[in-house]
Symmetry: C2
Subunit: 300 residues, 2 copies
Amino acid sequence: MKTAIIGLGLIGGSMAKDLRKANLASRLIGVDSNPEHSMMALELGLVDELLSMDEALASSDLVIVSIPVSAIQKVLPSILDQVNDHAVVLDAGSTKSLICEAVKKHPKRNQFVASHPIAGTENSGPTAAIEGLFQNKMNIICEREKSGEHALQVAEKVFKALGMKTTFMDSTGHDKHVAYVSHLSHVSSFLLGQTVLDIEKDEKNIFTLAGSGFASTVRLAKSSPDMWAPIFSQNATYLLKALEEYIAHLQRFKNHLVNNETEKLYDIMVQANEIRRVLGGIELNQQKTDEENKKVSIEK
Amino acid sequence: MKTAIIGLGLIGGSMAKDLRKANLASRLIGVDSNPEHSMMALELGLVDELLSMDEALASSDLVIVSIPVSAIQKVLPSILDQVNDHAVVLDAGSTKSLICEAVKKHPKRNQFVASHPIAGTENSGPTAAIEGLFQNKMNIICEREKSGEHALQVAEKVFKALGMKTTFMDSTGHDKHVAYVSHLSHVSSFLLGQTVLDIEKDEKNIFTLAGSGFASTVRLAKSSPDMWAPIFSQNATYLLKALEEYIAHLQRFKNHLVNNETEKLYDIMVQANEIRRVLGGIELNQQKTDEENKKVSIEK
């Protein structure tokens, strides 16, 4: 399959690596509005050639759109306008409602599969692309019923080649839940980073006193603003609700601290400890996916 | 050196492992108020024998107090009362002001070294003890001038054997800075965990949608309430200030989100990205410690 990757960053670049390795992409065409990123992606061998958007769309069987969500929302209709009648278009955006809304009446809507492969690191750009980024992770496809059979089959091949397990949701449900489980943790981390930098003007103290716990909690504060500002903005309604609840929890904790109610602080932490079981479940799930994938490849 | 470890959890147990390996402890005596933990520590070979507090103190050259900070504050005076005149007492508490205050007029104050070896994991109890936990991490000694020469020399040997680099601070400065760089990240993580658990009653959604970013940010929410409730309570003044600033940053972010000021969200994230440089510095620092330790061992 001749494959065009629109957006040669962490996600697009990592997909390129895995799709080439899985022999799914016979030729990889790169498109990026940033000429430096384009050149880097070519030099790194992520793609075989660089084309303009129009040229790339005219000659591809598969188009993967891995650019910031605001840009996906904007260019997706014209991408669908231009692709061949047999081509399949996938996106990799972390929000889904506005993206689906943008093409809901498009005559080629059935050639598009609205996807959210849940994977990433705090790094960005083509140099951040790594092999196996998606392995054993979850992919969400939204509004499955609006995609045609052929498009869904191609999407299935792509996400299987990436080592992902796909599940289906409606786009509103998706956006609501990722607000809590992904977007809120990014906000909490960005602002923890800012708070600490703000107060610890003398950075020596951060060097000296920060342990691995701080590094872990603040890791996401290194994430790309180009990617995350549009996500927060597109998912503002649900993120606001999540953020309000988070702030309310913090306020409650603060009040217990003011009133020296150590017992209540203790109870809150015992409740929060429940996350251990849930995270254990995530790891278990990933192991299962791992085993299933192994089984599949043995059965081949 | 006959060494008593008071508190056989993650910290005490991990110290026992490394001090034995470094041949610093000729005999390891365990003391723990929890009989289950005591038996486990003995079975795991963390300590050679279990004694009562009184027996242990009467026969030890080195006493390491690795229990919750509220318990340290409470029992430290009577520990100093009972130890031999040549014995050295170290603690491993994450707060220092109230602990130092508790023994500031004690006639044996010079036998005590107020320490904070900055290391840990989100796990607890004797089974969580691991070798090398402290390797290349920082140790803070507070109120150095109140410890005698012999006590400081023993402490130096202990922390070197653990692979740590020691730096000196006053206890107020210590408590103020750890409030931001360690305690606040624990609070932010505990409450992120609670917020998500609270809203995602159907845990399937957490299973499905949580990526590695969420797992990283919420990791500290698995930490022990027995350890952290007393830390938060002892460091309430500084933690409150840190928490208020964190909440103010979150509120500001929320307002920008409400007003659809994506540019401002973007600017905040660009500022927070600075943490990348700081965390890079932490890693660099650890490498340096690593190299220095190598040099020291070569020079031996």
